[in-house]
């Protein structure tokens, strides 16, 4: 591999650090900065990343902090951050994971290998020397075990250019250590799920505020989200998806009365505003006689299905006890019509319709 001109020009060696926005990657990058390494951050956006903004769609979450934690970490460290859109490339990781899924639809081991591979491609292109991650042996049941550490290094192609400063003492020497760019003695020996060593180190570095100390940055680890994604794939008969699909799975009540139709009903005004951005893609329903949520029809917008969707949606608005609720039905083509329906009684909605 071509290495940077660091030695010749007496400049620091350069590392790219995978920054998730959590504590471990913050510390790993900081440990390298303390050793005089020039560190820049890289953050891969798969579309499944849990961010405050996604939560902030809902009214109840409006007061939550809206910061992007990866950007915030980079700012704390005083480093550049490169955010890379890998939504399309990630589809193959998610739909064909060589190492399978975790408890839900989380392909953690394949995911980590993919991200390190992308980081490896990046350092070659940008003439950086090595890659840093915040992995800790034993911290995650699938991707962060002693047996899987070499798998990630090997399958990503990064091999000994991948340095994990937080648990390096338990791992074979990497090239940056062998070449003396990094002092192995100053690297750490963290292991297991105990977070106290990380918190102590954060305190030592003067970091008082950091995000999600126990991890959890991916919707694919969430059982409810994974169920909705599985339903989407089953209904389509394939595992294809686009960014809008995976964003919509994060929002609203998802109700599937039959294989060919799913109704997405907003749970509050924030979600209604968000879903209204999709009115050119789906047939949408909005009550006009009463206050109520916006709903989208994903699938067959036949007359019977529209009527059923309206009856269901009326159930979740102020007209739930009225004899009739009138809706404006807007087709994706822009055609509008009115429809008056009786709200579906609560007991008439089978529990297995809810995804």
């Amino acid at each position: 591999m071509k290495q940077s001109q660091a030695n010749n020009l007496n400049q620091p060696h350069k590392a790219i650090a995978l920054i998730s926005g959590g504590l471990d990657s913050l510390l790993a990058a900081k440990v390298m900065i303390e050793q005089g390494i020039h560190v820049e951050g890289i953050n891969f956006y798969t579309g499944f990343c849990v961010e405050g903004h996604t939560h902030a769609i809902r009214n109840q979450d409006k007061k939550k902090q809206k910061r992007n934690n990866a950007l915030w970490v980079a700012e704390q460290l005083g480093i550049k951050l490169h955010i890379v859109d890998v939504i399309d490339e990630y589809k193959d990781v998610l739909t064909n994971p060589k190492h399978g899924y975790g408890a839900n639809l989380n392909p953690c081991l394949d995911c980590k290998g993919f991200m390190v591979r992308k980081a490896h491609e990046w350092i070659i292109k940008h003439n950086f020397d090595f890659i840093v991650t915040g992995e800790v042996i034993g911290q995650r049941p699938m991707s962060q075990r002693k047996e899987t550490m070499p798998v990630i290094a090997r399958e990503s192609g990064a091999n000994d250019l991948l340095l994990r400063p937080l648990c390096a003492q338990f791992l074979p020497e990497t090239l940056p250590e062998r070449n003396g760019w990094v002092d192995r003695k100053q690297l750490l020996a963290f292991s297991g799920r105990n977070r106290k060593p990380q918190m102590a180190l954060a305190n030592e570095f003067g970091f008082q505020d950091y995000a999600q100390p126990a991890g959890g940055c991916c919707f694919l680890t969430d059982a409810s989200y994974a169920k909705k994604l599985g339903d989407l794939w089953q209904a389509r008969g394939n595992k294809n998806y686009d960014l809008d699909d995976i964003m919509l799975l994060k929002v609203g009540r998802h109700i599937r009365p039959s294989e060919n139709i799913k109704i997405i009903i907003a749970r509050d005004e924030g979600e209604t505003n968000f879903l209204s951005g999709y009115r050119k893609r789906f047939t949408s329903l909005q009550a006009t006689s009463h206050t109520g949520p916006l709903a989208l029809i994903d699938g067959d917008a036949s007359e019977a299905n529209i009527r059923l969707a309206a009856q269901l949606t009326a159930r979740y608005g102020k007209g739930r006890d009225a004899e009739q609720v009138t809706f404006e039905i807007l087709a994706a083509s822009g055609l509008k019509h009115e429809l008056a329906v009786s709200p579906l009684p609560k007991d008439n909605i089978p529990a297995d319709w809810f995804i």
């Binding site: 956006y45 961010e51 902030a56 809206k66 992007n68 950007l71 980079a74 951050l81």
Partner: protein, 74 residues
């Protein structure tokens, strides 16, 4: 001034689109970004600070957010 439409995108997509646009621009040029995600009001300025670009202005108008930035040096 160049323009970027990042409406109906949730963060970090407005930041990614901004980043990808700025790469094609010269130092000193200005970019107006239109967004709907209020998170962009926090993230795009943060992205500018860490990458050496200048935030010129932010404005909320008709449920949309307009952010103007000026590209910094290499």
């Amino acid at each position: 001034m160049k323009k970027l439409d990042a409406t109906n995108l949730l963060c970090p997509m407005p930041v990614i689109r901004t980043q990808d646009k700025v790469i094609t621009m010269a130092p000193g040029e200005k970019l107006e970004i239109t967004c709907t995600d209020p998170g962009a009001l926090h993230d795009i300025p943060a992205w500018c600070r860490i990458n050496g670009h200048r935030l010129v202005s932010t404005e909320e108008r008709d449920k949309k957010i307009l952010i103007i930035i000026q590209v910094g040096g290499p």
